[in-house]
């Protein structure tokens, strides 16, 4: 009897340790994305680059945390009861962290041979893909724990699990759409019209996929969409807007993005209608140009205005374009958001299975 109790306690403990590993993986990648966004702002502001900068410190701490989390999950995995259902989480975490860590030597080789790199480069791609895989691995572990535990607090694990995926995937879309990749050696800047198409379709798809998934996984609980969206806005606001002296007062505009979050959250959780999620998704997707303020402006400026942008002019060109971009992109953005909503259904079913 005592032996059985001890064994049960051990299994419970092992699962909690595995959960802690997943939590560290997700939080680690969250740190990397926060540091990355801050670092991009420093580059845009043309501050001198140094290895010991604060954003770099945040990024490296995040990598260390994710690595420790993956190692813990790996070491404890064979002791947990539901190995099979969590195997995919561990697999993605290990592959992700390996790809992420390989970005270090690739970055060194790249810098040694070609000098500074732009946003889209092999080392950065390796970093971003590693981040996405690790964060997906962490999220699956966290969500499956939530499904098994059904505790009230575990709902927040969904937020911690999905937020780094959102930010890391945003980094991938930004790399493929922003004209920040022309260096002395290579011009990896995406072709402007293709970049515009990528941004117009992928950002709304991603917003919808993440936010509708958060709602599905929390069983349409009111507040989850607002919380995860609000955290996204807070991270972008503090790392991409406030550090730029010239546009710090535009934070007021940016904070109004909470309104569509609350509205979509309310519709999805309160409206007794089969397709309520699609209404919410369409609404959220249509606001992507406002959500991704300020840097998204570079993509649309390339095609629509072609103005020379310097950091203190970012906000002015952004607001010059906002009405035009909103109406041009409204229909494709809403359709892409519908696709994200549809896809989220299948993704959530797989995660919860």
């Amino acid at each position: 009897m005592i032996h059985m109790e001890l064994e049960s306690n051990l299994i419970k403990k092992s699962r909690l340790i595995f959960l802690s590993g997943n939590l560290m993986m997700s939080l680690g990648i969250l740190f990397v994305t926060v540091g990355g966004s801050w670092d991009i702002t420093n580059h845009v502001l043309n501050k001198p680059e140094s290895f010991e900068s604060v954003p770099h410190g945040v990024m490296y701490s995040g990598v260390a945390l994710a690595l420790i989390g993956t190692a813990i999950s790996f070491l404890i995995w064979h002791k947990i009861e539901d190995k099979k259902s969590l195997k995919i989480s561990l697999k993605l975490g290990v592959i992700g962290i390996a790809v992420l860590l390989s970005a270090g030597p690739i970055d060194f080789i790249w810098h040694s041979n070609f000098g500074l790199d732009g946003l889209l480069s092999p080392p950065h791609m390796s970093l971003i893909i590693g981040m996405i895989l690790t964060s997906v691995g962490g999220m699956i572990g966290l969500v499956r724990y939530h499904v098994l535990s059904h505790s009230k607090i575990s709902k927040f694990l969904i937020v911690i699990g999905l937020l780094p995926i959102w930010l890391a995937s945003s980094g991938l879309i930004s790399s493929l759409s922003l004209p920040f990749s022309n260096t002395g050696f290579f011009n990896f800047n995406p072709e402007p019209v293709s970049a515009l198409i990528v941004a117009t379709l992928c950002y709304p798809f991603l917003i919808s996929l993440i936010l509708i998934s958060s709602s599905r996984l929390s069983k349409n609980k009111f507040g989850i969409i607002t919380l995860i969206g609000g955290l996204f806005l807070a991270i972008y606001g503090t790392t991409a807007i406030l550090p730029n002296f010239a546009m710090s007062d535009t934070i007021l505009f940016y904070s109004t993005n909470l309104i569509p979050l609350v509205a979509a959250d309310y519709i999805i959780s309160k409206l007794n209608y089969k397709h309520a999620k699609y209404i919410g998704a369409g609404l959220l997707g249509s606001t992507f140009y406002m959500f991704y303020y300020p840097y998204i402006m570079y993509t649309y400026n390339e095609v629509l205005l072609g103005k020379l942008v310097s950091p203190s002019l970012i906000y002015s060109i952004y607001f010059e374009l906002i009405v035009q971009v909103f109406f041009i992109t409204l229909i494709p953005a809403v359709l892409a958001a519908f696709a994200g909503c549809y896809f989220s259904k299948h993704v959530c079913e797989k995660i919860e299975a």
Partner: protein
């Protein structure tokens, strides 16, 4: 009717949001004055005449006397040189970016476009920047030059602020136009045999 109450509430929210983000904030922010940084430049050369084999100092003091700017660019041209060799030595610099030695026939920015429009350089240049460029930010750059040939040794100096919003965004505002289509101040030292 009660069934659609959430839609009515959400529509009001969305309406307010669209009015704010498309109708209220854009004109509000666009009505703000654009920053207008303004550069200023002083150049001191202690000796206007030296003998061949001697050196002279070139002391450059530049400043942003206008609004907050993104980049303060100082450019020093050497019309008699194709590339910077040991005859030009940087003695002192408090710019926060490293200086660049630019050889003849290198693509450089022109017409105050911050690199958007480029032309080939016709002689050796030194370019150095401070990023960003706060109001009243002042910078020193000191060179020790040992000319290798006798004759009139000319140096072109200019400073540009980005964003370049008008005539006041560069210094000098008149004088000689260099091959980049930008005004320069010309300084010279006579090198005697």
């Amino acid at each position: 009717m009660k069934k659609y109450f959430p839609i009515v509430i959400a529509s009001v929210f969305v309406g307010v949001y669209l009015v704010l983000s498309l109708g209220v904030f854009p004109p509000l922010y666009l009505s703000k004055d654009l920053p207008s940084p303004q550069p200023y430049l002083e150049v001191k050369i202690p000796n206007n005449s030296i003998s061949l084999g001697e050196s002279f100092d070139l002391n450059i003091f530049s400043k942003n006397i206008g609004d907050y700017g993104d980049i303060h660019i100082l450019s020093i041209g050497f019309p008699s040189l194709e590339k910077i060799t040991d005859e030009v030595k940087v003695i002192n610099s408090n710019f926060n970016h490293q200086y660049n030695f630019i050889e003849k026939n290198t693509l450089v920015g022109s017409n105050y476009s911050a690199g958007d429009h480029k032309v080939e350089s016709q002689y050796a240049l030194i370019e150095i920047m401070n990023r960003p460029s706060p109001p009243n930010g002042s910078y020193d750059f000191q060179l020790l030059i040992t000319p290798k040939n006798a004759g009139l040794y000319e140096i072109y100096v200019k400073v540009i602020e980005i964003p370049h919003t008008g005539e006041l965004s560069h210094f000098p505002q008149q004088g000689l136009l260099d091959p980049q289509g930008e005004y320069v101040s010309v300084y010279s030292v006579m090198v005697n045999r």
